[in-house]
Amino acid sequence: MSKLPEQMKPTRLADIPRTERMLPGNRTCAGCGLGIVLRYIFKALDGEAILVVPASCLTVLGGMYPVSSVEVPWLNVTFPSTAATAAGVAAGLKALGKRATVVAMAGDGGTADIGIQGLSGAAERNEDLLYICYDNEAYMNTGTQRSGATPMGARTATTPVLGKQQRSKDMVAIMEAHAVRYIATACPSYPDDLYDKVRKAKSMTGTRYIHITTPCPPGWTFGTHETVKMGRLAVDTGSAVLLEIERPEATAPAAFRLTGRSRTLAKRGSDLKPLSEFLNAQKRFRGIAEEEVRQMQKHVNARWKEYIGRDMSL
């Protein structure tokens, strides 16, 4: 049984490289969580990467022909094909004897719904790509229609009256079932944690998956100034949990670890803030039934307990 990979020393915010490869004056909404996310992903990739991006908010961030907002080689692709096209880029480079970090970056729609077949196939084959899902919890680019990742109770353009009736799809569990080398979750409210995870994933080969809870002011309906606050609230209530799952070999057991703020909360034995604090802060949950909130709280609690139980390093 091989040794678990050593922990990389956490990077301080002050030491994160200053170079910006996401250029200002792009088409993201004011206060867009993805803007913060992408800045740090680019810093961690340090310029040496090829991005593969399907139809999504990110496509629009990238700009409209003939002007680009990103100083990174970038391939736009069809909605379902992110993982497969990225696998093709990686295969092409390998065939040519070249190497670059291939990053497939899609939204929750392009990952959990229309893109899941390609992602599952790529993960099963352990394609050499870093897959990043920025999860703003709905099809935001087309006007906030519900996705598989939309949380229960959220009102969206296609769940306008009753709110989403189902829980969000658990992409971490799905990726775990594929036994990929590295799974992590992150949030732009904790950019150092996000930066380190992308850096670590970049240093690995095989399929790596990072799921980033990305607050969206117009879609979740909160003030444009509250984006970072909303991410913190997500983590403090356990709606989002910062974690890493590493599996050095497919047959080796996975090492599960809470990170950042989630780790701090767990180590202190702190209670999570009530989920309702997170729900009440966003108009998309207005009108959510008490029973739904109870169900969601129950699920959050159970998951938090399970995660703490899995982390042998606490």
């Binding site: 040496e48 003939p66 680009s68 736009n76 993982a83 497969a84 093709g88 092409g92 196939g121």
Partner: protein, 405 residues
């Protein structure tokens, strides 16, 4: 002149395609099995896993992913290959459009098979014909030798024009039938096929954003250069199709010089020099038509074949030139544009529209869902057409060959 070293093997159409891809030194293969194409994928797996072909073989989980992989690979400069049939082709449809608009020289084998519903694994040409508007060059092979030769030519054509190419051949009739095939030598193919030089730029030093959302009108880039709108970019693809016939002919001629075989460029003919009635079709049914022509001639009908080898770009001028010398053209389509006519028939009529003197055109649908097409059925159809023509019927409803309704 020294005869190039070749070896003659007995190969199915699928084997011919796989061997051709190996000779082309394809670098990335991604293909999903589907009857009657599966042996292409299996043979290529065999070549790759045994080291005979140095390529990255991605055993994708769907056809949509197969062509996506090829798009990714081709964009970074690797020679990419895939193959499929019917519903598999339909599944990758949006990527077919994408590859064309992205100007990627991918070559795909399409083993022609009927579209569901209902299910049929047998041959007709509805699958590739349904994709004829997407912006791929389409070449239809009439026998297994042509499959391997056309595949080699296809990479040369694709990489010169930056247009993807579909090499089509009839499922089972060719894919599973063994025929003698001269397999060109690797050395000669290497000489014939230069390395692929991508037009796409994907490098850190010059970071490009490729195939972004494009607006309707031309727009300045950041340096003030007026760049294309969507329509102009699509015009460039259309322009490539205007140049394509010359490129296709030249490549076929050059192939002929190197390998002692060429296939007629855009169209091919059999006993058409003095023909009064021409049989027109694409693929193996055109081969069958040559048998019909011999029978018709024996019965005193001055028949000939003028077959479509390249369906897109459509060889309108070339066909018109040849067809205007005849009185009657019988077009046999193995597909139908529902609500109208067989695709080849409609295109032939359009090609002849501008001619002052043009033949009558009678269209037929044949062989759907693997319905066997016999030469004698073609003979009967032509004889009936001739009789109708003699009675003054220049235009008639699409005939259905051996449809037992």
């Amino acid at each position: 002149m020294a005869v190039p070293k070749t070896n003659t093997d007995i190969l199915t159409g699928n084997e011919a395609m796989a061997v051709g891809a190996k000779l082309c030194r394809v670098q990335v293969v991604a293909a999903y099995p589907i009857t009657p194409q599966s042996q292409v994928t299996e043979n290529l797996s065999q070549f790759v896993e045994s080291g005979k072909l140095k390529a990255q073989y991605i055993t994708v989980e769907s056809e949509h992913s197969a062509l996506s992989v090829c798009i990714g690979a081709s964009t970074v400069g690797a020679r990419a290959f895939t193959a499929t049939s019917a519903n598999g082709l339909a599944y990758m449809c949006e990527l077919i459009h994408w590859a064309a608009g992205a100007r990627l020289p991918i070559v795909m084998g399409c083993v022609n098979r009927a579209m569901a519903a209902p299910w049929s694994v047998l041959n007709d040409q509805q699958d590739s014909m349904s994709q004829r508007d997407a912006g791929w060059i389409q070449i239809y092979a009439r026998n297994n030798q042509e499959i391997i030769d056309t595949l080699i030519q296809a990479y040369r054509i694709a990489e010169q024009l930056y247009v993807p190419v579909m090499v089509c051949y009839d499922g089972y009739i060719l894919s599973h039938t063994v025929m003698p095939v001269n397999v060109p030598s690797q050395k000669d193919v290497d000489k014939f096929l230069p390395a692929y030089v991508p037009h796409t730029i994907l490098k850190t030093a010059d970071p490009r954003n490729i195939n972004q959302v494009t607006l309707a009108d031309p727009r300045n880039d950041a340096t003030g250069v007026l760049c294309h709108g969507y329509m102009e970019l699509r015009y460039l693809l259309a322009e490539a199709f205007q140049k394509a016939p010359d490129v296709i002919r030249r490549v076929d001629e050059e192939y002929g010089k190197t390998f002692r075989r060429c296939w007629g460029g855009m169209t091919w003919a059999y006993r058409d020099e003095d023909a009064e009635v021409l049989l027109t079709a694409a693929g193996s049914i055109a081969s069958e038509a040559t048998v019909a022509v011999d029978a018709l001639r024996a019965q005193g009908v001055k028949a000939g074949v003028r077959a479509v080898r390249v369906y897109r770009p459509f060889p309108a001028k070339e066909l018109a030139e040849h067809m205007n010398r005849a009185k009657l053209v019988c077009v046999f389509d193995k597909s139908l544009s529902y609500g109208y006519q067989g695709p080849i028939c409609a295109d032939v009529k359009a090609a002849l529209y501008a001619s002052a003197e043009r033949p009558a055109v009678h269209g037929f649908v044949a062989g759907l869902g693997g319905r066997d097409v016999k030469a004698r059925e073609l003979v009967e159809a032509v004889k009936q057409s001739v009789a109708d023509y003699d009675r003054g019927v220049t235009d008639k409803e699409t005939g259905w060959i051996n449809c037992q309704i």
